[in-house]
Each structure stands twice: as structure tokens, then as C-alpha cells.
């Protein structure tokens, strides 16, 4: 496990380095002054300009400039937003938790719905249940997320009036910000309306999370179905059947566990997809997350924000990949020996 860890760490460091190189090069590729793109500092005096150029080693060669940039990133200094001159690090720290919260919630929904349905489809292979589930999976996978989102608002918010149409929580609840994760903050707060706030936050989360979950859930259905079908054809299942175990015993004791290992391996890959969907959904549901912020920054040509937002988001997704690799390795000892790209 130690070697596995070292390998992953190595991969992590190099990928991060590549990401920062890419992000650094963006400041040259965007139109306008490179230093302005990098720092987002507008309307500064010539003396401040000189100090800034020195701070970013602007007069030295490109390697030093990159090193200075890297130093700033490691210090958590991502510059100022070019549109409203706010600190981007603060903005990201404020917004990222909301995105993580929503994505995790959607992820849980997708797994809880997708995997069991996939297993059921496999167990009922070529029977009506299998066909129905596959048909739903197909529909869910083909519907564009923005359309599904609007449809959900139209049906459940406007027509039926069951759920709110946007935002993270009703603005009437004043929740003090401590961790940035709304659910945690509500639990930590001493508001007399704590439990209502929790329900309210939950109600706001249901629609966007379900919309985000739709596509990954269908992928999980197919993954789980294939994995289960494979497992059911292995010799140890046949042996178990020969031993006289009942069908439900075989499924519960042997098949599910082994099929799950195969599914977990692919779950992490779906997370990147899920975050992309979350970004679009945040715009539709007015969710105060990093996706909406990033898309707004793109609209406003806020180059500093785009650059830093992409860096943070891609590192986040990469981080999640490593975590799933770890989980998979913990579940399946055989995977620990695998080299990069060998599986």
C-alpha cells in the first residue's frame, strides 16, 4: 500500500504541475496585458505596477515568472476578479462548498438509485423489468440536463408548487457562516429556526440534485447491470449454486459484493461528468456555487477568475479520482499492484 500511495502522490504532483503550467499559459493566451490577466489588478498607479511586476518576477525569464506564479498559488493568492475586484481565493472558498455539497448529494442519489436498479435488471435479465429499467436508463441518458432542469422547475415548482425553484435556502433564514457547507452550518448555528432551515435547505436541494443525478444514475445502472451479469456467470457462483444455496443467498452473500468492486472502479470517473452537469444545473437553479460563478465569469470575460476557477475545479476533480482509486485499492488488493495505465 505504501508503494501504491507513493505512486499516486507522484502522479498527483506531476498532474498538478501540468495544470498550473496550463493555467499560467492562459494568462498569455487571453487578450490584454499578461500581468493584468494574472493578478486581475486594474486601475493601479505606476508605482504599484512596478511593485507588482517585481512580485511576479515579470522582468525575469519565463521560468522565474512561472516559479513566482506557483509561489503565489501555494500561498493561496489567486488574484483579484477583474469585474468587481474581489479576492478570488475568498470567492472560491465561499462557493466551492456549495458545489461540493450539491454534487455529493447528487452522487449519493445516483448511486442509491442507479446501482440497485442495475442489479435488479441483471437478475431479471431479459425479463420485462430489465427492459423497463434499460428503457428508463436510455431516456435519462439522452435528455439534455438544461432541458430536464427547466422541465423540473416547470412541473414541480410552478405547476405543482411542491419544491422551490432556485437558490440554496430561503433567504429568510439567517445562517451564520462557519464551514461554508450549508448543512453543517445550519447544524452548528444557534438559530431557533434550525430544524426548519434544515428542511428548507433540503427542499431546495432535491430538484437540482435529482436533475444532476439523472445522467450518472443511468450510467451506474448500465455499469451495475454488466458487472452483475459477469459475476453471475463466474464459476464460483456456479459452485455456490451447486452447493445448494438459494438464489437470494447467492445474490446477497456473493454476487453483490463482487459486482460492487467492479462498479466502484468506474464511479470515480463519473464524478468529473457529474461536476460538469452540476455547473449547468447551478445556472438553471440559481445555486450559489462555483459553477455558476465560473460561467458568469466567462460571460464577463473575467480572465483571472476563469483561469483560477478552472485550476481549482480541475484539481478538485483530480483529487476525487485519486480518492476513488484509493477506495478501489482498499477494496480490491489486486489493484494495488497495478501501474498507471495498466488497467
Amino acid at each position: 500500500m505504501l508503494i501504491f500511495t507513493l505512486r499516486k502522490l507522484n502522479l498527483f504532483l506531476f498532474t498538478m504541475l501540468l495544470l498550473t503550467v496550463l493555467s499560467f499559459s492562459l494568462s498569455f493566451l487571453f487578450p490584454g496585458d499578461q500581468l493584468t490577466n494574472l493578478t486581475g489588478q486594474l486601475n493601479i498607479t505606476p508605482s504599484e505596477q512596478t511593485a507588482l511586476a517585481k512580485e511576479y518576477s515579470h522582468e525575469s525569464n519565463i521560468a522565474w515568472q512561472y516559479a513566482a506564479y506557483l509561489g503565489h498559488i501555494l500561498n493561496g493568492e489567486l488574484g483579484l476578479s477583474m469585474t468587481n475586484q474581489t479576492n478570488i481565493t475568498d470567492e472560491i472558498l465561499r462557493l466551492l462548498p456549495a458545489t461540493i455539497e450539491l454534487s455529493l448529494f447528487a452522487f449519493v442519489i445516483a448511486t442509491v438509485i442507479g446501482i440497485p436498479l442495475g442489479f435488479i435488471a441483471a437478475i431479471r435479465h431479459h425479463k420485462p423489468a430489465d427492459h423497463v429499467i434499460l428503457a428508463f436508463a436510455m431516456i435519462g441518458y439522452s435528455i439534455p440536463v438544461f432541458w430536464l432542469g427547466l422541465l423540473a422547475i416547470l412541473t414541480f415548482s410552478i405547476q405543482l408548487g411542491w419544491l422551490p425553484s432556485g437558490g440554496q435556502i430561503s433567504l429568510l433564514y439567517e445562517i451564520e457562516r462557519t464551514t461554508g457547507f450549508m448543512l453543517v452550518d445550519i447544524l452548528l448555528s444557534d438559530s431557533p429556526y434550525k430544524w426548519q432551515a434544515l428542511q428548507n435547505n433540503f427542499a431546495h436541494m432535491i430538484l437540482p440534485a435529482l436533475v444532476i443525478a439523472a445522467a450518472p444514475a443511468t450510467v451506474f445502472i448500465r455499469l451495475a447491470r454488466t458487472a452483475m451479469l459477469e459475476v453471475l456467470q463466474t464459476s464460483y457462483i456456479k459452485a455456490a449454486r451447486a452447493k445448494g444455496l438459494s438464489f437470494s443467498q447467492i445474490i446477497l452473500r456473493h454476487a453483490i459484493r463482487n459486482a460492487l468492486i467492479k462498479v466502484v472502479q468506474h464511479i470515480g470517473l463519473q464524478f468529473a461528468n457529474l461536476v460538469t452537469l452540476a455547473m449547468i444545473t447551478e445556472v438553471i437553479f440559481n445555486w450559489p456555487g462555483i459553477g455558476r460563478w465560473l460561467i458568469e465569469s466567462i460571460y464577463q470575460r473575467d480572465y483571472t477568475a476563469i483561469q483560477s476557477g478552472l485550476l481549482v475545479l480541475s484539481s478538485f476533480i483530480f483529487f476525487v479520482h485519486i480518492i476513488t482509486d484509493y477506495t478501489y485499492a482498499a477494496l480490491n488488493p489486486l489493484a494495488r499492484g497495478a501501474k498507471y495505465g495498466s488497467r
Partner: protein, 534 residues
């Protein structure tokens, strides 16, 4: 079996959660209100910003004025319980209320009640360029600079703790109306001193302290504004405990939130007729104090001839313009002053749509072979004219029928205004929004000789008789006398017709049925002081 038991337990839990949600939500929602606004305020001090969005968000919520307007647009006491005007109209003495408290917030705790020092402090800030707070937000006081406040007021004097005297350079009957606008708010001198001693002067315009019905709790630009009730508000008991401005720039977003109960009241609703179909929703409308007009450059041919102006006026089909441009959002204007103004002349005979008469008038004026002129159409959207370009096209088509050719001209807005100021136009589609209901706020800026030289008189029309009537009307505070003078002035206007009044636009707001109380005013900002929820 086991699974069934689990499922039923989860189901029960959900049921309890959801039902609890229903009951408890009502308690917090009952005395709170969410207003979906169209934008963020630019400042927290209405002295320094006059944009509608800013005034709506802050002016009546946070502050009070010495005097205010009644529903019938007469002037009523507010922080000043009474006032006295000397016979020559040059000295105004205000007697102040004693029991008025300032907001207590996380950043300021007042030690004394409101008194004369606060009034002197608030107005000295505008008038006195040496005042420590004068330059804080760039030294700009748009409303006061527009009405040339520093030319009107000679000085402000504290007589005692509860008496303040304004000395004017000469009598000015719109002075009280100016003080009753949303811009003439009273700030706390004590708070100012505290900020000054800490070297944080700029916070006076971003962390506001006032005497108004609500105090500021938090603000996130582009997202929300949270107010709490001012517990010891002097005027009435404020029924809402919490007032939240949910800043939703998109108009469809605001409509959705109204339909889904996330907003109780929304600003500028789209599709008002659709909202009216829902029995739980109410659309309110007030005619705003504004005028959209076609201005004739009276210094240039052909509009130096009143007969041509009248001919063009007869050839324009105003009804068609209202239907096409304003829809339900505007009403036809026959005079410069809206109907709700006390000086409105209801006896005025509307200029009827009559192409034959127009042709006859043109022939009389010597344009038998027709005529060509240009109309300048402003490139921006304003409530008094939502689409000047289309309006110009409609007028073009109307005039074409009587053999008059019209060229439509438009420039980028700042160029447009600059060239307009230089009088390069022959006619122009423009408008005016009043800051207060005093008729002078329409007539002087639009039609006086003085403003022909300095600014907003786009007709460059100067009539000595008309001008002296306006000046006389400002010198007296006898309302009957004033009304008489303004009626005479309007008769001169109708005779000469330097501007053709087209429309007064309306302002809309939509709310849920259970929200009670008056929010909209026909001029200035909205007010939540007397709003409650059932």
C-alpha cells in the same frame, strides 16, 4: 419483512419532516417579507445616488426626512412635527420631534435621540465643501446639484436642540417639496463623529444608520439585502420583523419566484395580464410622475413656426403609439403635467388626430409642397419611452400620409445628449421623470428660459410671460394662487406647443394577496413601513 419495516420507518420520518416544515415555516414567514428586486443598490445613502434601484432599496427603509409627501401629494410632517415659513418666504423654521431614535446595530449604538445637530450635519454635508464628510463619496450629490440646492439655501442654523432654521437666498416654494423627496434624508451626527474619530468616514455611506423603519443587518452585492425591524420606530409599529431584498436581475426569474412563493412582492413584473389571471396574485400599478414627449427645436426651421408644430401634432396618432409602444404600461398625455398633479389642467382640449386639419395648417404655413425634417430617437430604454426608435417609425408613417417626409436619426447615448445640447436637432423623442410632485419640477426644467441655456429644455423655447409666471408661482406658498399661475402658464404652453406630450408611463408591481399595505408611490421609492402579512 425487515425491509418493509425499514421502508415504513423512513416514510414516517419523511412525513414528520415535511409536516413540521409546513407548520414552522409559517411562523417565520408570517412576519417576514421577501421582495424580489431588479438590482443591487449603488450606495446606502440616497443623498449620493438617485438611481431608482438604489432609492427603492434604501431610501424609505432606512431613513426619514424632515417632511414627507401625503398620498394626495401635499406635504406632511415627518421628523419635523411642524414648520413655519416667514412672510417673505426666506426663512423656514422646523420644530423637531423629540422621541425619535436612531438604529442600534452591531456597528453603532446611539447614546442620544435625534436632534437638531443631526439635521445640520446632514445638510451641511451637502452644502459645505469643507465638511469632513463632503468628499466621502466623491462630493457628488446629484439631486441637490440638479435643483441647485446650494444656490437656494444660504445657511442652516441650530436654534435649540429641537429647532432648526433654513435661511434661503430668496423665496422658493418648491424648497419644501425638495426637502420632502427621498433624497433629503437625515443622518446621525453622532455616528458621523464616531466614524471620524476612527478614520472610517467612507462607512457612513456603506454601513448606514438612520431613523427609518428598518435597520440593515447584512448585504451581499448581487445577492441579498437583509433588514430587521427598528424596534422603537417613532412613527408606527413596524409589522414586519424581517425584510429581505432578493436581488434577481432576470425578469423571468422574478416571475418564477413569485409563482413559487419564494418572493412575496416582485419589482417590474413581466406579463402583468398573466399574473392577474392567478387569483392569489395582485398586480398594482401607479402612474409615475413622468412624461414622454416629442420636442420641437423652436430655434430652427420649420419648427420656429407654431403653426407647423400644431400641424405635426394633429398628424400624429397618439392612440396607436400608446398601444404599440406602451401597451398597458402607459396612458395618453394631453398636458405636460400628469393627471395626479394638483396643477394639472383638466380643461385642456386634447389635440385630436386629424390629418386633414394638419394638411390645412401646413398649407396655411406655406408648406404646400410638403416638408422634410428629422426626428432624433434616443438609443436607450427609459420608463417614459421604452422604445423611441419604433415610436419614431410610427410617427414617420403617420406624417408620410400628409406628405411630410421624416428622417430618423440616432446616435450613441452620450453623443446623442451632447449634440442635443448643442441644438443640432430639429425634433427629438425624449422624456422627463420628476423627482417630486411639485409642478415646478416639470415646468422649469423642461420649459424655462434658464434651462434652455443650461440643460434640459430641448425645445430651446423661451417665453418671457411663461417664465415670469413660473417665477411668480415659486415666490408664493399659497396653493390656490400657485395653481392659478400654473394654469395660466399651461395655457401659454398649449398655445405655443414647444413640446408635444405623448404619454405618461405606469409603474407595476406584483404581490401575493396576503401582503397588505401600500408599497408603491407614484414618485420616488417603495416603502415597507406599513406593510404586513396575514
Amino acid at each position: 419483512m425487515k425491509l418493509n419495516r425499514w421502508l415504513s420507518a423512513i416514510f414516517m420520518a419523511c412525513l414528520v419532516l415535511l409536516s413540521g416544515c409546513e407548520i414552522d415555516n409559517q411562523t417565520i414567514a408570517q412576519n417576514s417579507l421577501v421582495y424580489c428586486a431588479e438590482g443591487s443598490p449603488a450606495s446606502f445613502n440616497p443623498q449620493t445616488d438617485t438611481s431608482g434601484t438604489t432609492i427603492d432599496a434604501i431610501a424609505n427603509q432606512l431613513y426619514d426626512r424632515l417632511i414627507r409627501f401625503n398620498d394626495d401629494n401635499s406635504i406632511a410632517p415627518a421628523l419635523a412635527k411642524s414648520w413655519h415659513l416667514t412672510r417673505d418666504g426666506k426663512m423656514v423654521t422646523f420644530y423637531l420631534r423629540k422621541d425619535v431614535t436612531f438604529h442600534q446595530t452591531e456597528y453603532f449604538t446611539p447614546t442620544r435621540n435625534f436632534n437638531a445637530d443631526d439635521v445640520v450635519f446632514s445638510f451641511e454635508r451637502i452644502l459645505n465643501t469643507e465638511h469632513p464628510f463632503h468628499q466621502v463619496s466623491g462630493g457628488k450629490y446629484p439631486f441637490f446639484q440638479n435643483v441647485q440646492f446650494s444656490n437656494i439655501v444660504e445657511g442652516i442654523e441650530k436654534i435649540n436642540d429641537h429647532t432648526v432654521r433654513f435661511k434661503l437666498r430668496e423665496a422658493n416654494s418648491s424648497f419644501l417639496a425638495n426637502l420632502a423627496t427621498d433624497y433629503a434624508v437625515v443622518l446621525s451626527q453622532e455616528y458621523g463623529q464616531q466614524l471620524l474619530s476612527q478614520g472610517r468616514q467612507e462607512e457612513i455611506d456603506s454601513k448606514p444608520i438612520g431613523t427609518g423603519p428598518f435597520k440593515l443587518q447584512s448585504y451581499q452585492s448581487g445577492s441579498l439585502l437583509r433588514y430587521y425591524r427598528h424596534e422603537s420606530y417613532w412613527h408606527n409599529e413596524v409589522k414586519l420583523n424581517q425584510l429581505v431584498f432578493d436581488i434577481t436581475a432576470s425578469d423571468t426569474g422574478r416571475l418564477t419566484k413569485l409563482l413559487t412563493n419564494e418572493c412575496d412582492v416582485i419589482a417590474y413584473p413581466i406579463a402583468p395580464h398573466k399574473i392577474k389571471e392567478n387569483p392569489n396574485l395582485i398586480v398594482e400599478e401607479v402612474t409615475a410622475f413622468n412624461i414622454g414627449y416629442l420636442g420641437f427645436n423652436t430655434q430652427k426651421a420649420p419648427f420656429d413656426d407654431p403653426q407647423v408644430r400644431r400641424a405635426v401634432a394633429h398628424a400624429i396618432n397618439k392612440d396607436a403609439i400608446i398601444t404599440a409602444i406602451y401597451g398597458e404600461q402607459g396612458e395618453i398625455a394631453h398636458s405636460i403635467l400628469p393627471k395626479s398633479s394638483w396643477a394639472h389642467d383638466s380643461s385642456v382640449i386634447p389635440i385630436e388626430y386629424n390629418p386633414e386639419q394638419a394638411i390645412a395648417l401646413l398649407q396655411e404655413a406655406g408648406y404646400e409642397d410638403g416638408l422634410t425634417f428629422d426626428i432624433w430617437a434616443m438609443p436607450v430604454q427609459r420608463s417614459y419611452n421604452p422604445n423611441a426608435l419604433t415610436m419614431a417609425k410610427l410617427i414617420q408613417a403617420d406624417l408620410n400620409q400628409i406628405g411630410v417626409k421624416v428622417d430618423i436619426v440616432s446616435y450613441e447615448w452620450s453623443t446623442f445628449l451632447r449634440r442635443l445640447g448643442q441644438g443640432e436637432h430639429q425634433s427629438v423623442l425624449l422624456g422627463w421623470s420628476a423627482d417630486h410632485p411639485d409642478p415646478d419640477n416639470f415646468l422649469t426644467p423642461l420649459l424655462s428660459c434658464n434651462s434652455a441655456e443650461t440643460g434640459s429644455n430641448r425645445a430651446f423655447w423661451c417665453d418671457q410671460e411663461f417664465d415670469s409666471l413660473l417665477k411668480l408661482a415659486l415666490k408664493t406658498d399659497n396653493i390656490n394662487q400657485r395653481k392659478n399661475l400654473y394654469l395660466q402658464a399651461q395655457a401659454i404652453f398649449q398655445r405655443d406647443l414647444p413640446l408635444l406630450p405623448l404619454a405618461h408611463s405606469k409603474r407595476f408591481q406584483a404581490r401575493h394577496e396576503q401582503v397588505k399595505g401600500k408599497i408603491l408611490n407614484s414618485f420616488g421609492g417603495i416603502n415597507f413601513a406599513e406593510v404586513s402579512k396575514l
